[in-house]
């Protein structure tokens, strides 16, 4: 062996985890790059909004953009308007941004796993400099990072399909990191940002409600961060609207401008976006194989009672969630990190599985939590692998790939089995029986 090789080899062995994460990052970005030119219908919608933002003049025209795009929230409009100022092809630009959030998500998962495996150990650049890190936990964190960043569901969601689910899920994961570190303000600010970006953040709320009741370590007022961040995210747009010479001229007086900016895409308009998203659909299930896929999906043109059934389904979901939270609180066993994560997983899974009009990518949050769990309990490897494979089939179909020739009802049945497995892992055995993770 040559002399420099020995040094190189020793360096690799000493810094295996760092080198590994670096290679995964570079490889993952390179792999995604070749998928960025895939065009899907959803990407087309983003590009349409991008063009409108460009027509409005980018950031200075964000208020006018809000008047023209009424179906999407203020934070997304802000992001779209900001991207118009960059000299990059818009499709690539969106996907680069989603890839950045994929990295943030993977980093969050790594930090979360480290925290959970060391019972509160902090993984950050500062702690890494000051004291030695727990090597086995660091290895697990590195592998968790790799699994999250290289998960086919994550890659296809952002790089192929062009969806932005990594944005709000990464914020949720970091929110979980901070709430487990007993920093509720930071946690709820991040959760609020996630909520301001996507309504689907509510899928994790049942877990936060459970934590609030179980831990009794933070006030319920923190939940107000969610609407607060929602309104704050719209502030840039409202300020631009107030300052816009066109608005001042048209309204004539300051009061007139203030009145104008509180209508349409003003404060009530922000809420209307979310109400509109909840009301859309028209069917009890969409592309997600939820519980409602067991029942016939009527044509909305003839299924005039859809809204009654939808409301009943929402009430049923809330009742199931309430029952689960009640059972968890009545448990005599203390909640260790593993069971807390199972609780987060099961509660978010329940929400998505039983709510009506769910789309396939809404399961993103609990798919990521399934990855976290395999490092805490080996028994969750099989359900996690099955879950990812089943959901990947759905996503692969969205980008034109051949998928598993099974019906939605059959997929729903498989998901029900996986759901049952997680319920068993949550309630079925105590800490002394559970196996340590990978």
């Amino acid at each position: 062996m040559l002399p420099f090789e020995e040094k190189f080899r020793n360096y690799l062995k000493k810094n295996a985890e760092t080198v590994f994460m670096l290679l995964v990052t570079l490889g993952g970005v390179a792999g995604r790059f070749f998928l960025w030119d895939i065009y899907t219908g959803d990407m087309g919608a983003y590009l349409k909004w991008y063009n409108r933002a460009k027509e409005c003049g980018g950031l200075p025209g964000i208020y006018e953009l809000g008047q023209r795009i009424k179906g999407y929230n203020a934070l997304f409009q802000l992001l779209t308007a900001a991207l118009t100022h960059l000299p990059v092809d818009p499709q690539y630009m969106f996907k680069i941004v989603w890839t950045v959030f994929d990295l943030l998500l993977a980093a969050g998962v790594g930090v979360l796993v480290y925290h959970l495996c060391t019972d509160g150990g902090k993984l950050s650049f500062r702690t890494a400099k000051n004291k030695p890190l727990d090597k086995p936990a660091l290895r697990k964190a590195a592998i968790a990072y790799a699994l999250s960043f290289m998960s086919m569901n994550v890659i296809f969601n952002s790089a192929a399909w062009g969806q932005s689910d990594a944005v709000y899920v990464s914020l949720i994961i970091w929110s979980l990191v901070w709430i487990l570190r007993d920093k509720p303000l930071r946690s709820f600010i991040l959760l609020g940002l996630a909520f301001a970006f996507k309504l689907q953040t509510v899928f994790i709320l049942p877990f936060f409600v459970f934590l609030y009741v179980y831990k009794k370590s933070f006030s319920c007022l923190y939940f107000l961060c969610l609407p607060a961040m929602l309104f704050m995210s719209a502030l840039p747009r409202q300020i631009v609207g107030l300052l816009s010479p066109m608005n001042v001229q048209a309204a004539g007086t300051a009061a007139g401008v203030a009145a104008k900016t509180t209508t349409a895409q003003g404060l009530p308009g922000i809420i209307n976006v979310y109400i509109g998203q909840i009301a859309s659909g028209g069917r009890m299930y969409l592309e997600y194989p939820s519980f409602w896929a067991f029942f016939p999906n009527e044509d909305p043109d003839v299924f005039t009672d859809f809204y009654k059934f939808r409301n009943a389904a929402i009430v049923l979901t809330l009742m199931i969630l309430a029952a689960l939270v009640y059972m968890l609180l009545k448990e005599e066993r203390k909640f260790d990190n593993c069971r807390l994560m199972y609780a987060a997983m099961v509660l978010s899974f329940t929400t998505v599985y039983f709510l009506p009009t769910m789309i396939d990518r809404y399961g993103y949050i609990y798919e990521i939590l399934a990855i976290v769990l395999i490092f805490l309990d080996k028994r969750s490897i099989i359900p996690a692998a099955l879950l990812h494979l089943v959901m990947f089939y759905q996503i692969a179909g969205r980008v034109g790939m051949e998928t598993l020739p099974v019906s939605m009802q059959q997929l729903s049945f498989i998901l029900l089995i996986i759901y049952g497995m997680y319920l068993y892992l949550l309630f079925g055995s105590g800490k002394e029986e559970s196996n340590a993770g990978v």
């Binding site: 090789e5 792999g31 990947f392 020739p405």
Partner: protein, 341 residues
Amino acid sequence: MPAFEKKLLIWLQKHMDILLMIVLTALALLLRYPLCSLHADISGNGLNKLMIFADILLAVSAYILVKICAGDKTKRGAAIAFSVMLFSVGNLFASAVYGRMDALWTALCILALVFIIKERFLWAFVLLSAACFISAYALLILPFVFFIYMHDGKFSIFCIAAPAAAAFIRCLSGIDTAGWFPEGFIRGQLYAAYPSFWGFIREDSATEFGRYLPLAFVMTLVALMIFFMVFCRKKYVFEKDKALWIAFLASFITAMFMPGMGMGAAAVYTVLAWLLAVSDPVLVIPALILEVLRIWPQAAEIYGREWMAFPIQGLCWIQAGVLFFYIMHFYKKVLDSRTQV
């Protein structure tokens, strides 16, 4: 009893395994030769008649490897390995019927493993380079070689370039024989007739293949790195019998995730699966499943019976399940018994 008879009986008893091997070899030749003319349309070049001798070389290599890994524990195990290799349906099909050179390059890979375990690295890399010259599928053994490099550091990393260079030279030579290069690559497919991970999604279009190729390579590398990080930790003493496991799992994982793999991808790890089954009877069924999966797509194509028309995704699920079983078995049964430093 006459003295010479007694001496003969003692000699026979002492060398029973060699006698058994000679008898089995004769039987194997008798079995294979008629099969060579079964499908002349597939094996028209007559190479299949030569490959039946490669099967014998493979069987001998397996005997040597098992003997080295098992140490003085058992000669019987090595003899069993020899017979399994001779009568393996996969080898029989690939060599005698299909006329593939899988047995030859696999035998060279197995011999290379023998020399690696004995730390005679020059011979190991010569044999490996020869194997890679015959078939690019021999490169599937390189992850294991890299692991040995990182673990022991007893040879230069430039030695690993030799087999890769041999495969590259073969590419340039233009010599064409059945199965020398992954068929999927030639046809521009993400997967060919091999139930790899990419068979789950089945992207056949040549125009789409190039798009997923970098991702497939990256995923293969990441899967291997995760495997090495989880299962091959510094604190464990590297024992000879574990070498088979690591070589097997590394080549299996590589074959599962690499794009464009064909029937030849299964050759080396299927052989290693049988060698592992010799010392652990629990592994016989999964080895048998791997054997069947190895030839199923081609057999279905040739014989075309209705009951053989199994969807490729189904085969992928089965193979993924078998891989998962092996990893869990390795984790639970093998790692627990390893000596910790």
